[in-house]
């Protein structure tokens, strides 16, 4: 199978994004309204091609079958995210014009680029899963990130969105420079940019990896940690997640994070995979360990202190990166990476559901943010309230929702790879996280309505609500097929 054939899903997404760009400049409203459908069709086509005739490139890539999983999960969640974004920005703009907050500007009505960026960013995620060398990985990560910077800026008409975009972009550029420098050092240490060749070099060194390579690996991981929103590169997360529109935040919470996790796993594979099993150099392992502990603890403690639901979810997504790192450390041998893949699926769905519930509500034309707005939500907006409750329950890891099984697999992997202390800390963190997730469950369902929360009204577009309900339903129903899902995830890592 040649490499162009391998890239057909990405090419489909590229074609889809071009189509979106063309449709987006149409003068007819009905055409522009079809934009989400075009984007979803492109994503669907990518999935269909992968499932029907997608093959894997057996040689070279660390985890050849990974691309299939990532294509299906990434595009599937991508469809949900497109659905979540469908029309929200347009309707916001129309509402703002109607309310006299802004003047009508024909240039602003064209939102085709929004879907273009989404498709391109998802394409970056797919490419990251196929990366065979550092150049490819670098390009894939940048392709994932660059569109998101713009998406944040244009997601809302508020200055906060632009501030968020500015912070996201500049800090992102710094982190990109960091992992790029790390790549340079890795290249210097091994003399090759191909992951497989690097793996051979490191294997030949018998675990006695040189200092340059180690520093390169640390810098690369720390730089990519920005995409994961892991400590210490997490500081942008709460601000950016708050500043962007909820529908875009859901996107930020999944796509770059998944790309980051996959990239870190690909890089670690070169150094940790030995003939006799998974063993990371102590320095790398200790750093990941400390990162994991700090990430979950800081994320959860900070989330505990928030009064804004959006910021709370933002910090909690930091905490989830900490859980993901457990699986990354556990490695492919003990089912850790398979657990990461399952966890990403569960986290992505729950996160999308939670933000979708927020995106589907408005208070005085603005997004619903504070916890008080959500109090007693079920009395008026039952769908959004239950979506939020189920998604938060899943994020908390409440059985039998999907999030629970992902977390369980991660913990099993952590224990079986011998990181019992880490798993205990993660368990304690889960307990901390219950304190604020249960707020998100209890407030909408059982809280009393306040004067403020009575002003909450549904968004004029129903797509976010539908996307949220789909996500919540998936979170409930997918555990039925859990053995199959887990088996698929485990099969990804076996060549």
């Amino acid at each position: 199978m040649n490499i162009v054939e391998l890239l057909i899903p990405e090419l489909i997404l590229l074609a889809g994004s071009v189509a979106c760009a063309i449709v987006g400049v149409s003068t007819r409203r009905s055409m522009r309204d079809a934009l989400p459908a075009v984007a979803i069709a492109a994503l669907g086509a990518a999935i269909a091609w992968t499932l029907c005739c997608g093959d894997t490139l057996a040689e070279a890539a660390p985890m050849p079958a990974l691309s299939k999983w990532v294509t299906v999960v990434g595009c599937g969640l991508g469809m949900l995210l497109v659905l979540l974004n469908a029309g929200t920005a347009d309707r916001d703009y129309e509402a703002a014009v109607a309310a006299g907050r802004t003047k009508f500007d024909p240039l602003r009505t064209t939102r085709g680029e929004f879907y273009v960026f989404m498709l391109l960013s998802i394409g970056g995620l797919l490419l990251a899963a196929k990366a065979r060398d550092l150049i490819w990985l670098f390009l894939a990560l940048e392709l994932t990130s660059l569109p998101t910077y713009v998406m944040v800026a244009m997601s809302r008409r508020e200055q906060r969105a632009q501030e968020a975009s500015m912070k996201y972009f500049f800090l992102g550029a710094m982190s990109a420079a960091m992992f790029l420098y790390g790549f340079a050092l890795l290249y210097g240490a091994t003399g090759t940019v191909e992951l497989a060749a690097m793996h051979e070099v490191f294997t030949a060194q018998q675990g006695d990896v040189g200092m340059i390579a180690l520093v390169g690996m640390l810098l690369a991981i720390l730089g990519i940690a920005f995409k994961l929103a892991a400590v210490p590169m997490h500081l942008y997360a709460a601000d950016v997640y708050e500043g962007a529109a909820s529908s875009v935040t859901a996107f930020l919470g999944f796509v770059p994070k998944a790309a980051g996790a996959i990239a870190v796993m690909g890089l670690l594979w070169t150094m940790g995979m030995h003939a006799d099993g998974w063993l990371l150099p102590p320095m790398v392992e200790v750093m990941l360990w400390v990162m994991a502990v700090l990430t979950m603890t800081l994320g959860n403690v900070a989330a505990l202190l928030q009064s804004s639901a959006k910021r709370m979810l933002g910090w909690s997504s930091v905490a989830h990166s900490g859980y993901i790192l457990i699986g990354v450390i556990a490695g492919p041998d003990h089912g850790g990476w398979a657990a990461v893949l399952v966890y990403l699926l569960g986290y992505g769905l729950s996160n999308t559901g939670a933000f979708a519930a927020l995106a589907a509500l408005r208070r005085g034309g603005n997004e619903v943010e504070s916890l008080e707005d959500l109090s007693g939500l079920a009395e008026r907006h039952r769908g959004a309230a239950w979506t939020l409750a189920i998604s938060s329950g899943s994020l908390l890891g409440f059985p039998p929702l999907l999030g629970f099984w992902g977390k369980l697999l991660l913990f099993i992997a952590g224990v079986s790879s011998g990181h019992i202390v880490l798993v205990v800390i993660a368990g304690l963190n889960s307990a901390i996280s219950a304190a604020y997730y249960l707020k998100l469950v209890a407030l909408p369902l059982m809280g009393a309505s306040t004067a403020r929360s009575r002003e909450v009204e549904p968004l004029s577009v129903q797509w976010p609500r539908i996307a949220g309900l789909i996500a919540a339903a998936a979170v409930i129903l997918l555990p039925i097929g859990l053995p199959a899902i887990a088996a698929c995830a485990a099969a990804v890592l076996v060549n």
Partner: protein, 713 residues
């Protein structure tokens, strides 16, 4: 050593324990209907409740689906060929991919034992649901839906429990029936006693459930599987990771026993069952007499090979003695109660004791037969008590009811109760007579610590049983007509206007069900004569092809022969023969005393009690019996009071130490930390960037420090 004795006990005795075919019968997927129909009915009842249905629709849905379950079970039975099948319904838990090899599916283990159970569970379930359609009619509306939803949950869970092919699904069913029982005991949730009884049942059952959970876990760690077929194969082969003298294998029977004693209301965990009578009477008949409480016997019969692992059969001896003592204790309490439903409850505890005694003295056949006959006659008794309660506005005091059989419309009730009483008393040639004899005789046959005494004790208990049973019948159904209404008027929709109470007799649904079940109780004697080569007939067949095959007469005889044991005797005769006469005689004596004290000269009963109470030497006896031997008070003093004190102390600690110091303190800590790092998060992009860069540097330092100190092994 124990391995050798295991060989002597299980391999020498007879053919190996029959194991259902490992080939998975996929073409029998329709068997899943037994499970799905009650589930559908639950959903339908829920829908009825949502649509505020006020007709009898939920009852008909439930009766229909339960009848469907019964028919399916019947088909299973007709298709059944030894040694049975494992029918896969749904793949459920399969953790082979993590490397553990843990598999537990929603699969049915169809062997004779599970068929025996599922037949009477679904059959009686259908009949009693039909009975309840009339009994519960005063609650038409949401209560009606709630009731039948509960019955559906129960049947679903009970079917899962009985048909499960592994311990995990059994556990699911076990918890499910416990939940359904809690649901239905607390049906009258506005009554404080009902709520307390529901809680009591739930909590006491938890103790037993803990035992089951641990037993399942130990089974998995010791034998590497929780599926019956594999379990039996592994045990037979003796090829498991640990030897029998290892504590974990040895602990399994004891934990199973704990579970069974909780669910089947044996000493010391029986206290919940009499209180459970606060639930509606059909529930008492179905769950707390006929089916659920026999789950413990089923569990032990199913796991019998584990009990036989220990060559000394110590665990079985304990089972026998606990059963015998429970039977005696409950019978003495039952003698002194005035509430007829309570008497029946204590008699259930007592009869369950017999069943455990049967298991303990190595006659699974007797135990299973007694379960089968008891299900019918006790259901008949409860249903007739329910009819009385229904008709007399909740009146259950046997001193305030008399001569029912002379009243119009109460004939079926009276004679159904008579049949039930005859069976329970072990009147010759009734079903209870044969099944109880099988157990009593075996106590004299089997060698065990004091089993002779146990046998005499059980005989004495049989006499007591005959007495208190007929005490009820003679008081309530015989004698001159007189009655007082109860104080519960919810069932009384007429007769208030003239200030005079009119009892209303049961109508078609209740009468027909009582009649059918009473006839069933009589017919249950027939299997004894359905000879099929093995002594004991059909029931023995039903036990023979299962994990409990050790305890049937033919196998036992062969075992005794092979081991050259002397056959025990009763008064110099073969106990199996002598018991027909002895137990018949004991039953007659009991009935005669009851007739004297409660039919012909009722005033003698009162004067006897007064005479006993007036003498200080004997006053304790009626008092203690009426106060149920103070068991509730003892439990209160030993368990509840210390827990109360302890929990208040802990509450104080929680308030002061945990809430004030730990929680509030911890909650303040992040804010404090936050204030320290405030300058780093003032919202400028530089602050974030500096914190990130500084964080990277700090992280590297920490990592180097950790590596240097070597704390990270």
């Amino acid at each position: 050593m124990s391995l050798l004795s295991m060989l002597s006990s299980s391999v020498l005795t007879a053919a190996p324990v029959p194991v259902a075919d490992v080939h998975q019968a996929f073409d029998m997927g329709w068997a899943g209907l037994i499970l799905w129909l009650p589930l559908l009915s639950l959903i339908a009842c829920g829908c009825c409740a949502m649509m505020r249905c006020t007709s009898k629709l939920p009852a008909w849905i439930t009766v229909g689906s339960l009848a469907g379950s019964f028919v399916t079970a019947m088909f299973l039975y007709l298709n059944y060929e030894p040694p049975g099948d494992v029918v896969n319904i749904v793949r459920w838990i399969d953790l082979s991919w993590v490397g553990g090899g843990f598999e537990a599916n929603i699969s049915f283990y169809i062997d004779s034992l599970s068929l025996l159970w599922i037949l009477f569970v679904t059959g009686l379930g259908t009949l009693i649901a039909f009975y309840a359609s009339e009994y519960m009619e005063t609650d038409l509306g949401s209560g009606y839906c709630r009731f039948f939803a509960g019955v559906s949950v129960f049947l679903f869970a009970m079917s899962a429990l009985v048909l499960a092919d592994n311990l995990v699904l059994l556990y699911l069913g076990w918890e499910g029936v416990g939940f359904a029982s809690y649901w239905l005991i607390g049906y009258y949730y506005t009554k404080p006693e009902a709520v307390a009884a529901a809680k009591k049942a739930f909590i006491v059952n938890r103790i037993g459930d803990l035992g089951l959970a641990l037993a399942v876990y130990l089974c998995w760690t010791s034998f590497g599987t929780v599926q019956y077929d594999e379990l039996v194969t592994v045990i037979e082969s003796g090829d498991y990771a640990r030897m029998t003298d290892d504590w974990s294998v040895a602990a399994i029977p004891w934990l199973l026993m704990l579970a069974a004693f909780g669910k089947s209301a044996q000493l010391p965990l029986y206290v919940w069952l009499p209180d459970a009578m606060e639930g509606p009477t059909p529930v008492s008949a179905l769950i707390h007499a006929a089916t659920m409480v026999t789950a413990g016997i089923y569990l032990l019969a199913r796991m019998y090979p584990v009990f036989l692992l220990d060559g000394d059969h110590t665990a079985l001896h304990v089972v026998a003695w606990v059963g015998g003592l429970t039977a005696l204790l409950a019978a003495t309490i039952g003698m002194a109660q005035y509430d007829i439903k309570r008497i029946m409850a204590y008699s259930t505890v007592s009869q369950l004791g017999y069943m455990f005694m049967g298991l303990g003295v190595l006659t699974t056949y007797g135990a299973a037969y007694h379960v089968f006959t008891h299900a019918f006659f006790k259901a008949a008794l409860f249903l007739t008590c329910g009819a009385v309660m229904h008709g007399f506005a909740g009146q259950l005091d046997l001193r305030k009811l008399s001569g029912l059989r002379h009243m119009k419309g109460w004939k079926i009730t009276s004679y159904a109760m008579l049949i039930g009483c005859l069976c329970l008393a072990g009147f010759p040639f009734t079903s209870g007579y044969f099944s109880k004899d099988a157990i009593l005789a075996e106590a004299f046959v089997t060698h065990g610590p004091g089993f002779q005494w146990l046998g005499f004790m059980a005989l004495f208990t049989a006499g007591l049983t005959a007495y208190y049973t007929f005490r009820v019948w003679f008081r309530v159904c015989a004698g001159p007509v007189s009655y007082e209404a109860g104080d519960d008027h919810h069932g009384d929709d007429h007769g208030h206007d003239d200030g005079h109470f009119h009892p209303h007799a049961p109508r078609f649904a209740m009468n027909s069900v009582m009649a059918i079940i009473a006839i069933g109780a009589l017919v249950a004697a027939v299997p004894y004569f359905m000879d099929s080569g093995v002594k004991g007939g059909w029931i023995a067949d039903m036990v023979n092809d299962s994990t409990a095959s050790e305890g049937i007469p033919a196998v036992r005889a062969a075992a005794d022969h092979a081991a050259d044991h002397a056959h025990g005797s009763l008064f110099g005769y073969d106990p199996h023969v002598a018991m027909y006469w002895v137990s018949g005689g004991v039953g007659f004596i009991g009935i005669a005393i009851a007739a004297w004290l409660h039919l012909f000269r009722r005033e003698d009963a009162v004067s006897l009690r007064r005479a006993l109470l007036s003498r200080s030497a004997t006053a304790w006896l009626p008092r203690a019996m009426e106060r149920k031997w103070y068991v509730d008070e003892i439990y209160h003093a030993l368990i509840r009071a210390p827990l109360w004190v302890g929990s208040h102390v802990l509450h104080g600690i929680d308030r002061i130490l945990v809430d004030m110091v730990l929680v509030d303190g911890t909650a303040k800590l992040p804010r404090l930390l936050g204030r320290w790092v405030q300058p780093l998060t003032n919202g400028t992009v530089h602050a974030s960037a500096t914190a990130m860069a500084g964080g990277v540097a700090l992280l590297v330092i920490v990592v180097l420090l950790i590596l240097h100190l070597g704390v990270f092994a």
